[in-house]
Symmetry: none
Subunit: 223 residues, 2 copies
DNA sequence: CCCGTATGAATGAAGG
DNA sequence: CCTTCATTCATACGGG
């Protein structure tokens, strides 16, 4: 149910929307507004993350494979959600009782060309650098394509599609000296006309951070 | 391998770190960043949880048996870091000093989780007024426990009952819904002094509402 | 076989 | 919004 609403474009319901949703949901059990609220928050965030990851994975793969070139690439299947012209949204469905107006909350999709910028947000603001973080991602990332903004990336899956074999045993610990960060992916914008990824960013990484600014070039090191 | 990193102090790897780790691990099989991420999350959590129980058990023992005795040591096996006598917080320092790239990401020893003000403490009153600015109401509104009324207009439900049942599944994902209790507290892989402490109190417990009324040893959640 | 433990995954909830 | 936590679910595994 919440999902359907979400699909309809609701991302950050307003107080009243929350209320209505909540009351509808009460039919099924105890629930409070905050639950709904949280749900949307989390869902949105996770969804975003997921796709972020995917994009990233996608581009990685992309680079890898055809590393070079052709302009063509059809954006991945855009499995679901948010694919809508920025302007008209699925909302439709007017004939309905309850006014729960769903407005299109602006599903944005971005292709690998990452053009879209952030929300109307004037970038730097809040006095705080808006370079968002660069770290720690939460869970929920599963392969699936789509895109949004990709500032920093975290996981990548390499598996290329298909099976994510459940994780393996996470292995035998190796004594590895590890530590040395040997690589770090930094990416630079892909020069190619589309697909750029502005990842990089980071910079902040707060404490910790692996020095080593220079690392990188794992497979992707795109140019 | 992950373990070693963990031991090195990594608890919540940054995106980059995850990336690196992941790629290293890829050598052994299919693995994605999220797996690494999950691993750390889980590991940390479980570690923490384990420790908590140990402390708890320890103090129980302490109280029960006697009161004054000397601080018997042999704190539980303390499988790895973090072992600290529950009593004196070993932690002298507490600033975030992790930097230095590679290793110590936080030498800190975690206490039972609550050290400073961690979560878990719902505290009764959250007098956060709720007002939503322009857009939404952002969280900050928690239904005040008592003092119903005062609905500010955001959440709160109007249903009368509201027995807090914690959130329900928010859509039937799977049937459950029942409360299941499992208390396996048994810890001690070590097998030594088995002193189980059936923690829990679950069932209804949950955070919030410290109605301690009948007190009894409700273990302190100390720290 | 069933049971209990270990662990990956997912998600609700807060704090900031 | 972003992070981090706590909990819970679902399994895989190893013994009795």
């Amino acid at each position: 149910m919440l999902e359907s609403l979400y699909k309809q474009g609701i991302r950050t319901p307003s107080a009243d929307q929350i209320q209505q949703i909540t009351s509808r949901l009460k039919a099924y059990g105890t629930i409070e507004g905050k639950n709904v609220f949280y749900w949307f928050q989390n869902h949105k965030a996770r969804q975003r993350q997921k796709q972020k990851q995917e994009n990233l994975a996608y581009i990685n793969r992309y680079i890898h494979h055809h590393h070079r070139a052709q302009p063509v690439f059809h954006p991945p299947p855009c499995t679901n959600v948010v694919c809508a012209g920025p302007y008209f949204v699925p909302q439709a469905d007017h004939h309905h009782h309850h006014h729960l107006g769903f407005y299109p909350q602006c599903p944005k999709v971005l292709l690998p060309s990452g053009s879209i910028k952030r929300r109307g947000r004037p970038i730097g603001k809040t006095g705080k650098a808006l370079f968002y973080n660069g770290n720690a991602y939460d869970h929920t990332m599963v392969p699936s394509p789509d895109t949004e903004n990709l500032n920093n990336g975290a996981f990548n899956n390499g598996g290329g599609a298909t099976n994510h074999q459940e994780t393996l045993p996470l292995f035998p610990l190796h004594p590895t000296g590890v530590s040395e960060e040997t690589l770090m992916a930094s990416s630079s914008p892909t020069g190619s006309t589309s697909c750029e990824t502005t990842i990089s960013a980071r910079g902040v990484d707060n404490h910790e951070s692996n020095n080593e600014g220079s690392g990188e070039h794992r497979f992707i090191d795109f140019f």
